[in-house]
């Protein structure tokens, strides 16, 4: 246990991503209100984004903008270990924008459901369909 503990503490970002992932999954499955399901979906998405951005972080590095990139000998001696990995950042930038458009479509469908059934509680919608 004592030598297992440092692994948990050192990787706390991944544990946070895991906890948020499970919170989002729980909300999508167990919540009765459709708006809460949509919010849980966006929590789930940002947990995945957190996981990917965590992979790009390095100890002792700085933001991925080239230092001393100007002048005569600029950009010749780049040490990649000084910068955080920008590839996961770029991928997750796309994921954020896609996530917002998913949210917009989901909320539009939700308002349409509310207009037809008069409620966004899942059990009441099921009752309204049965009738």
């Amino acid at each position: 246990m004592a030598d297992f503990l440092p692994y948990i503490v050192a990787k706390y970002n991944y544990w946070a991503a895991l906890v948020l992932l499970l919170i989002g999954l729980y909300g999508m499955i167990a919540k009765n209100n459709l708006l809460k399901k949509v919010i849980a979906m966006s929590i789930f998405q940002s947990a995945i984004i957190l996981f990917y951005v965590s992979m790009g972080d390095k100890k002792g590095s700085t933001i991925p903008i080239l230092l001393h990139g100007h002048g005569e000998h600029g950009a010749l001696a780049i040490d990649p270990s000084q910068y955080a990995n920008p590839l996961p950042h770029v991928l997750m930038l796309t994921a954020i924008v896609v996530g917002v458009s998913t949210l917009g479509v989901a909320l539009a469908v939700l308002q349409k459901i509310h207009r037809v059934h008069g409620t966004i509680e899942e059990d009441e919608i099921l009752e309204s369909i049965e009738e």
């Binding site: 948020l20 919170i23 909300g27 949509v38 951005v53 002792g60 700085t62 933001i63 930038l93 509310h114």
Partner: protein
């Protein structure tokens, strides 16, 4: 010029704790408008976390799109439909 951003792990732990609290609160609060506002706070804390993790481009996209636009969308929907949630 080299600074060690990972020295700020205390901020990381603080922000992660607040993010998880916001996520739990957004799913447990019964009023849907407060649910949307807590979702906005969650997005803003996520933005702070990504600045901590050296992803500044992701951070400002999240601040504009996540904390801005999606909060407005959620708030507009929550105001249009019945405000109270059963769970």
């Amino acid at each position: 010029m080299n600074w060690d951003a990972s020295l700020l792990w205390q901020f990381d732990v603080l922000i992660i704790t607040m993010v998880i609290l916001c996520a739990v609160a957004a799913l447990t609060v019964r009023d849907l408008v407060s649910c949307a506002i807590i979702g906005g706070a969650y997005s803003f804390l996520m933005c702070l976390l990504w600045t901590e993790m050296l992803a500044v481009d992701v951070a400002f996209t999240e601040a504009a799109v996540g904390a801005g636009v999606s909060t407005v969308l959620l708030l507009g929907t929550a105001l249009h439909i019945k405000r109270k949630s059963k769970d």
